[in-house]
Amino acid sequence: MSRVKELQKSLFGGTTSNARQFGMIFTLVAIVLLFQILTDGLTLNPGNLISLVSQYSYILILAIGMLMVIVAGHIDLSVGSIAAFVGIVVAKVMQEYSVPWFVAILIGLVVGALIGAWQGFWVAYVGVPAFIVTLAGMLLFRGGNQYIGNADTIPVPEGFRTIGAGFLPEVGPNTGYNNLTLLLGLVICVAVVVREWRGRRTRREMQAEVAPMWISVIRIAIPLVVVVFASLQFAGGRVGTSFPISGIILGVLVVIYGFVTRNTAGGRHIYAVGGNARAAELSGVKLKRVNFLVMMNMSVLAALAGMIFVARSAASGPQDGIGWELDAIAAVFVGGAAVSGGLGTISGSIVGGLVMAVLNNGLQLMGVGSDRVQIIKGVVLLLAVAFDAYNKKQGRFSVIDSLMRPFRRDTPTGAESPAEAGQERGKSPVAG
């Protein structure tokens, strides 16, 4: 086999449906490097990376839930209003009844779950389209926010602010870096190595073709360099700042939801429902339950995102959450989800969200006004989805695919599928 083809198959997961996602990763890298040059190195400076994570983690948390909603073939327009509603409830509860902040967070999540159950009920069991249910929810909960908050801005106590404005604490000897952040980086490095090693072991056990050693080295080395660089930057910020708590919450959610959507039956059911609801139901997927849980889950995540934003802003205000649904939906589509449902991944959406975030941040660092930033973001969203539509029309044409077509004939198709189970870049088995 030629080395190029090995690289394509083993590094990129081997099929063309991943091309878009990797295109997005390359776009992200390119944008980061571009702004790094244009802003004279400010983009990757510790202070900026830290504020980038704390500014966008709540949008990325919404994107996780939104990806699942969109994969299931729905949409949720109410997330911003739900976030604002939960934010004001939590702030009020802490202000008027002096509830401890961790109890307030629990109350917030419960309120989110109740709202989610309400919306899920209408979508799944009554059969009202999610667009309508959540449009109603958008009005309902925005009004609820104003009714409870009297359009006032209500401050939240110091402890609560940790989830939005807190950082990993400074502990241990003075190394010139934040020790816990370095530790976190080390854990991620070990995880990368272990995962690759286990992936190879699984392939061997399954009698599948094991990628050559140099491929594995690349697959370990690139993430390691990125992780080491990132953890040094995050750990090297101004004293008292380090990797944001909200970023850790996001990371944990990405790992959990990534696993659920990729490796569990329940997660795959979401893709099945989005790909072809009728076929999924006939195959024994409990359609109503899947729809209910997906909508409910979105509202819980929206509640969490709302609380993180309130914590970061140190107060819940009447303008919270306005336009968030659009940011989350944009992240999911830029990250490669299909408008028709059934296709898309958590990691793709995160990358999509990061592309938009870095774009926004870089343009702000350059001093570009918010008017032009909005225009540029609009164009990027349109082009990303246009690329998707073009792919479909061309029978999944992709740049990598067309380059590789001459080598296609000898691809051992049988060997690919079990091998890919161990890989992260999940694709839907029911992907149209």
Partner: protein, 370 residues
């Protein structure tokens, strides 16, 4: 397989070694964090970056202020970064803009807040990075991070509006009782309550004596608030008031906190085909000055943005030179955790009678008054 582990770890170690050479902000950060206050006293280079974060472009005033800051800071030899919050996600936008200015190493950050209570995290971060924070026109709440506040005396603005409303109505109709309606600004803006309280300090005695009647009975600031200072919200509320209260009664006057809302109120009254009441305003917006000259809107307040921006730039210059900026009020403006030293400029009431003199020095407005 151990082989891979070994190689991976080796690669990681090499990467780690090569990257430890990377710059860390820790040492520099330490220095600025501890010597932040003394550094402010020492001043900073004359070509430093000055950040200006303003709210969304919802009123002419902010657009003008942005232009004045851009030019004024440039003329003073500074680099400037003037940003407006986006139209939909205003608060989050402004938070990100302030963080970006901090990252870029701005020495002074001037903030016209969109929501004065939601910026404390960013303001404190800016402060810790060594920047001086000046709250422009709107006082930033609940944070130690604000150094100065510069604004027009807003209580005085309210008093002038209240007085103008009474004077205007007395001119039109010699004897009361006068029927009025009250409008106030957005409740997330610290100033709204100050304007309203100032106006009520003049109007309340008249209301109590029965000389002035609030037709709808809506005298609480919660009832009179206009969300986001948006014209459409004021117009909607005025439409409903006209329908509910003034189908037979005559409306003599409306207290409006600014010009944008005043014009929305006048539009609403015209739309309903009613005689125009006395309507107050503030900000000297172009359309409202025209309206005053034409005899529609009764009054506005001249809080010349030029003077306010000039005063702010003067503060920046003082800070640059290592001097303590001049303040004239160290008692009135408590932001919840500290009393912020303030410089207050006096406002001026403008009606048809003095419109020519009031704008004589204003290149945009003077031609309109001829």
């Amino acid at each position: 397989m151990r082989n891979i582990l070994v190689r991976g770890v080796a690669a990681g170690a090499i990467a780690l070694l090569s990257l430890t050479a990377c710059s860390s902000e820790r040492t520099g950060g330490d220095a600025t964090a501890t010597s932040g206050s003394t550094e402010a006293a020492k001043g900073f280079p004359a070509n430093s970056l000055i950040g200006v974060a303003l709210p969304a472009k919802t009123s002419e005033n902010w657009v003008l202020a942005g232009d004045l800051f851009t030019n004024g800071l440039k003329d003073a030899g500074f680099q400037s970064d003037v940003q407006y919050a986006g139209s939909s996600t205003t608060v989050a936008d402004q938070q990100a803009q302030i963080s970006a200015m901090t990252t870029k190493g701005a020495k002074v950050i001037v903030i016209g807040a969109t929501d004065a209570a939601q910026l404390s995290t960013q303001v404190e971060a800016a402060k810790q990075a060594g920047a001086t924070v000046i709250a422009y026109d709107r006082l930033i709440k609940n944070t130690q991070g604000v150094d100065y506040y510069v604004a027009y005396d807003n209580f005085k603005v309210g008093e002038l509006q209240g007085q103008a409303l009474l004077d205007g109505m007395a001119k039109k109709k010699a004897k009361g009782p006068y029927t009025i309606e009250l409008f106030s600004g957005s409740s997330d803006d610290n100033n709204s309550a100050v304007f309203f309280d100032g106006a009520m300090s003049v109007l309340k005695p008249k209301i109590d004596s029965g000389d002035v009647v609030v037709g709808s009975g809506q005298t609480d600031i919660k009832q009179t608030a206009t969300d986001g200072w948006k014209a459409e919200n004021a117009q909607r509320r005025m439409d409903s008031l006209l329908t509910s209260t003034y189908s037979s009664k005559t409306l003599d006057g409306v207290l409006s906190p600014n010009d944008t809302l005043a014009r929305a109120i006048i539009t609403s009254v015209k739309g309903a085909g009613k005689p125009l009441p006395i309507v107050t305003g503030q900000d000297s917006e172009v359309e409202s000055v025209k309206s005053i000259v034409a005899g529609e809107q009764y009054s506005t307040i001249n809080k010349d943005t030029r003077n306010l921006v000039a005063q702010t730039i003067q503060m920046v210059k003082d800070l640059q030179a290592g001097k303590t900026p001049e303040v004239n009020d160290t008692k009135s403006y408590n932001n919840g955790v500290k009393v912020v030293p303030s410089f207050l400029l006096p406002p001026m009431i403008v009606t048809k009678d003095n419109v020519v003199e009031a704008y004589a020095n204003d290149p945009n407005l003077a031609p309109l008054t001829k």
